[in-house]
Amino acid sequence: MSVMTYLGAIGAAQREAMEADERVIIMGEDVEANVYGTTGGGKSRSSEGDFLQMFGKKRIRNTPISEEGIVGAAAGAAMTGLRPIVDLSYSSFLYMAMDQFVNQVAKNRYMFGGQASMPVVFRSAMFYGLNTGAHHSDRPYPMFMNVPGLKIIAPASPSDAKGLLRAAIDSDDPVLTFEAVLLWGLKEEVDDNEYRIPLGKARTVREGTDVTIVAISGSVPEAILAAQDLEDEGVSVEIIDPRTLVPLDTRAILESTAKTGRLVIAEPAHRTCGAAAEISALVAEEIFDALRAPIVRVTAPDMQIPFSPSLEKQMYPTRATIGDAVRRVLDSAPQRLAAEISR
């Protein structure tokens, strides 16, 4: 075990995978210079542990700024014997390659009746909450959840980042990772040995009995803080971090919610058709009668992201807004009549 940052854990998973399998290559803009800190020895960008020196130019490859071309090329390479990891830097740049993601990466195996396999990982970071304005702040994972054929992970801790990324690289299906920049600095003890966290298994971040919070990506630390506040108020909160968004561990979510009877879902994506909507719908379908209160979503509003610090800070779920949502579901009278409610 050693203390690693989230970013360091990603670098470690990449290094291990590169060492273990020659077919693994890393391609992306500025990966040679280790600009984002995941292709060198941690975030240090020193030449010690530098991937370019360790693995050479064939396997560590700066690409032109051509997202559509890069994503398609990685897909073609994956179909013919490589296992590329594509660093797309910011999640906001994924749209440039949307056709390749949807029409090639996600569909080829299926359309070709299983002839193709597509072992490729697309990494990107959601740069929200850092006053970069609307172009860089997107959290577009819900769009990709609507595309069958992709697997999607969104680790919220260094250990998960390392174990899930390793499992993603092992996967014979395409995996998209969404990493929140707000998590980059998180530190914890991480196993120095190789390990995988299986895709599709949620993590119970903390156990509780009164209410379940399902929290995603950068909302996990906020949910933890909210749960601590609520504990002081005598409320016992269970937090589930799905970690993998596709395939989703619905069982873990349903079991926890069935136990507590109350569900709050927190995520940084826009509200409409977000992951929270999906989880809410799943729960309302599957264990409706176990619910003792309305399900509440705490999300970004259906608004683009403003630049000014005085504006942006209100856009994402926080300790306070998550806490308030929990207080609301606890207050709600469980059995009011329909007539009372409808306006």
Binding site: E68, G76, A78, Y110, M111, G200
Partner: protein
């Protein structure tokens, strides 16, 4: 270059052109009779361009294609039965009935997939060349696309990547002079082949795209360059489709005139090459037998198709992921 080709190779060229012609003629009929669901896009008239390209590739080489899709795997040597079964949606189809005409793929002959999305499969072929380069397996890759697709940005991103990394890939533009109803010159600025130069690569325009040998020569040169580490080539081949954009499509507005079409019919690639073969001493009997052989192959493919079952409904829920089940 082609002077050195053995007669068997020349006959194989004619065989594959005939296969494409007869296969597509049959498919066209089957669409009109409702035996093939949806529609198909035939390569009738473009056989020389397809076969000249494919024959310049080795068996291990890769290829990606587009909506005008049957010719490419046939040209690359795929057996006809599973292709025809795929068009009809049978379980024995090359993609188990999941792909259909637009999405033929036969990995066994290096066919990595046709594509219904114009311009979308060009980066795929580029990626196959990338893996060939990294793995050092000596393979070459070729992307087929139309004159219409030549205005998609994906082509230029791919050309640049291939150029800078010297990838073994050929960008093969099937310039049949129209994209659906749109004449190429009304939506294309400049000359497609000349776009190569700005991307630091060779570009060549095969004016006589109805000559299978002319195409073969141009693509062979490109393949040699690719295999020797000389990087990519853009090959533009001028050709013509005889049929409507897709079978059954009837446009009210004429966009091609009859005179133009008949000029091209007069330069039929299969007739031209038959004449050439005769001039090279191949007997009419041999050529007639070849024609009969191909017709029989197509009949057999149709019989195979008719004898095959449709996939079970549950098959729709297979082959998306390698290890995740999805509920119906």
């Amino acid at each position: 270059m082609n002077a050195t080709l053995p007669i068997e190779t020349l006959l194989e060229m004619q065989r594959r052109m005939l296969r494409i012609r007869r296969f597509d003629e049959r498919a066209s009929k089957m669409v009109k009779r409702g035996q093939i669901p949806g529609t198909v896009h035939t390569s009738i008239g473009q056989e020389a361009q397809v076969v000249g390209s494919c024959m310049a590739l080795g068996e291990q080489d890769y290829m990606s294609g587009n909506h005008r899709s049957h010719g490419h795997p046939i040209g690359k040597g795929a057996p006809l039965g599973p292709l025809m079964a795929e068009l009809v949606g049978k379980a024995t189809g090359v993609c188990k009935g999941k792909g259909g005409s637009l999405h033929l793929a036969d990995f066994a002959v290096g066919s990595l997939g046709e594509s219904g999305i114009v311009g979308s499969s060009i980066p795929i072929a580029t990626g196959a060349a990338l893996s060939a380069e990294v793995l050092g397996n000596g393979r070459v890759s070729l992307a087929f696309f139309g004159d219409g697709a030549a205005n998609q940005g994906s082509l230029y991103e791919s050309m640049n990547m291939a150029g800078v990394w010297k990838l073994p890939v050929i960008f093969l533009c099937e310039n049949n002079q129209y994209a659906l109803s749109t004449p190429a010159h009304t939506v294309t600025s400049g000359v497609i082949a000349e776009r190569a130069a700005g991307f630091g690569m060779e570009g060549v325009r095969v004016e006589d795209g109805q000559s299978v040998l002319a195409v073969y020569d141009a693509v062979s040169t490109a393949v040699s360059r690719a295999r020797e580490g000389g990087g990519p080539t853009l090959v533009e081949v001028i050709t013509y489709r005889y049929n409507e954009h897709s079978e059954g499509l009837r446009l009210g507005t004429d966009y091609r005139d009859a005179a133009e079409r008949s000029t091209w019919l007069d330069r039929d690639p299969i007739v031209l090459f038959r004449d050439h073969l005769v001039s090279r001493g191949v007997s009419a009997d041999t050529l007639d037998a070849l024609e009969a052989e191909v017709l029989a192959e197509v009949d057999l493919a149709v019989a195979f198709t008719n004898d095959s079952p449709y996939p079970e409904p549950s098959a729709a829920f297979e082959d998306l992921y390698t290890d995740v089940e999805v509920a119906a």
